[in-house]
Amino acid sequence: MSRLAQRFADLKAAGRTALIPFVTAGDPNPELTVPLMHAMVANGADVIELGVPFSDPMADGPVIQRASERALEHHVSLRGVLEVVRTFRRQDPDTPVVLMGYLNPVEVMGYAAFAEQAAQAGVDGVLTVDLPPEEAEPFLAALRPHGLDPIFLLAPTTAEGRIGTICKVASGFVYYVSVKGVTGAATLDVEAVRSQVARIRSHTGLPVGVGFGIKDGPSAAAVAQVADAVIVGSALVRRIEELRDDPDTLLAQISGFVDELRRAIDGAR
């Protein structure tokens, strides 16, 4: 069983909802990413979603765009991200790490080389935002022998027929994008999310994570009632941006925020 599947199975047995915080590797600087990851785990993160910086993050709002730009200023690209994961793994052999990024850096590295190096570094899942299942088969074939879970997005605009198609090629979990928009955009509508998650569950037994639009304890708690995982990105990255010049306060604040989300999620069930 993959590290992701194991983690979700354990959470289910314990009756808990997963908390998946997102940070961009290399933001605000490469030295802080690993300490941030450990701090998030210590305060209740079940899975870490690690952003791979890209020059043209078409699906991201301004907050995560700027995180990408900061990381690229430090020359953190795909190879640097794998280095971050390798360092993280030395102290944490258990927490699953999912990479979230765009296809082009992977294309340039080559699918086979990427899959091999990612698995060696300790990556568990890969979410490639701009790679829909229709174009994904060669990439999936490269991930399979290394046991890497391909994570796919589902959206409010996903037609009924596609949900099944996507869930068939996905493993680990599926990621429901709760709003029509970019990351960090609108506030989500919990009732709409509830019915969409139910629709997804009729197609798959995979855990359903929900992200986009979760910005604080109350919204995390609301989503925790309907989802298997609560994914928080821009709200965290915004805090990192504000405190980027003050690493000690940054680590303390992020720890506190993740702890707040954890408590809200646990209180919701």
């Binding site: 910086p53 043209d56 730009e69 690209s77 082009n104 829909p132 605009t157 928009g181 609108a186």
Partner: protein
């Protein structure tokens, strides 16, 4: 994987893309899941209307009465004599309403937007020509219009920015990334995904996710259809060579496509060589780029060794794009078309030369095609025929040209 064998015949090339929007291994649809549904909805609407007699009649009426088509195929006699070789004809897209070929496509997409019940139009623009053409049709159809433009381009194309505002469009300067066309495209995509229900995104070139490359090509193909007929009428035969500049590549695709099956007609796409290939400051994707994925398509890109997109450079904002339409990549790999480049300096020389010799002031984009024609024509006999796509007029560029020559206008 899509079919990758090369050397397809021209007639086979004309049948592309496949159902998934592929030209060989290029093109396709590489976008986040939220856009997959809307793109499929757009494809279906386009498939439904492109053969609809009423839609075609409305499109053709607008091209005739609003744009002023057909545009002339003009024999540049004095310039041809000066070059000393083939006869050079200019396809006068510069005479279109709004001053460039861009309007052919914006009319087509705006008519489609209206039929799809969308009340808001968005667009990206580099030089501002596509932005102006979009703002123009939006004004005419009474649609709300927002144009995204890189902050750098807003600065270097002030006149077009003001034109768009006069037409009632909101121009949004984009400050992310390199602040040029590619970033404007990113921002327009972000707007689209956030306003899917009422918004139609008019992409200005033969790039982006399926169905855009094929749809824009089809709307622009009026250029090649007219040129083919006009050449037959004026010369009694087909041309020997076609020359067009290639940024994203819509004016070139529009000219080339109707000639693809005419195997004897050579095709040259001219990229922006900027300050020269060795300088690294250029937009010659075919000279130095390699395959990658950006803006919803697999194509040739200018990128670093980590797959991060790098900034392109050209004196003409309209050619300043690190990617290129996927159909061009396939035409190159299949050997049907040849891609070359002209530097800033060569383009400027051609700009002055045509202006002085023919009394026609070309856009700096089109000047790249003219620059290549100055090399090609002398290698051909006087009874040979070249058609250069004069894709736009140069009025918008006079400030750039003046500044380069140290003149304050």
């Amino acid at each position: 994987m899509p079919k990758t064998e090369q050397h397809m015949s021209g007639a086979e090339l004309q049948q592309l893309p496949d159902a998934g929007g592929h030209f060989g291994p290029y093109g396709g649809r590489f976008v986040a899941e939220t856009l997959m549904g809307p793109l499929e909805e757009l494809r279906q609407a386009y498939e439904r209307y492109k053969d609809d007699p009423q839609f075609i009649a409305e499109f053709e009426y607008d091209l005739k009465q609003f744009v002023g088509r057909p545009s002339p195929l003009y024999l540049a006699e004095r310039w041809s004599a000066k070059l000393g070789g083939a006869k050079v004809y200019l396809k006068r897209e510069d005479l279109n309403h709004t001053g460039a070929h861009k309007v052919n496509n914006t009319i087509g997409q705006a008519l489609l937007a209206k039929r799809m019940g969308k009340s808001r139009i968005i667009a990206e623009t580099g030089a501002g020509q596509h932005g102006v053409a979009t703002a123009t049709v939006a004004a005419r159809l009474g649609l709300k219009c927002v144009v995204y433009m890189g902050a750098v381009d807003v600065e270097r194309q002030k006149i077009n920015v003001f034109r768009m505002r006069l037409l009632g469009a909101e121009v949004v300067p984009v400050h992310s990334g390199s602040k040029t066309l590619k970033d404007a495209l990113n921002e327009a995509m972000r707007d689209w995904v956030s306003n899917i229900d009422d918004t139609f995104y008019i992409i200005g070139t033969v790039a982006g996710p399926h169905p855009y490359p094929a749809m824009v090509r089809d709307f622009q193909s009026v250029i090649g259809r007219e040129a083919r007929e006009q050449c037959l009428e004026q010369e009694g035969r087909l041309p020997d060579a076609l020359v067009a500049c290639v940024g994203g590549g819509s004016n070139a695709m529009g000219l080339f496509y109707p000639f693809l099956a005419d195997e004897a007609v050579a095709m040259y796409g001219v990229e922006a060589g900027g300050e020269g290939i060795a300088s690294g400051r250029h937009a010659a994707r075919f000279a130095t780029g390699r395959p990658g994925v950006l803006h919803g398509q697999r194509t040739y890109l200018m990128e670093d060794e980590d797959g991060q997109i790098i900034e392109s450079h050209s004196v003409s904002a309209g050619l300043d794009y690190p990617g290129v339409g996927p159909e061009h990549v396939w035409l190159k790999e299949s050997g049907r078309a040849t891609y070359v480049y002209a530097t800033d300096e060569e383009a400027l020389a051609a700009f002055h030369d045509l202006t002085r010799t023919e009394g026609i002031m070309p856009a700096l984009e089109s000047s790249h095609a003219l620059a290549y024609a100055t090399k090609l024509a002398p290698t051909m006999a006087p009874d040979r025929i070249i058609i250069v796509n004069l894709s736009g007029r140069g009025d918008k560029d006079i400030h750039t040209v003046a500044a380069l020559e140290g003149i304050t206008v």
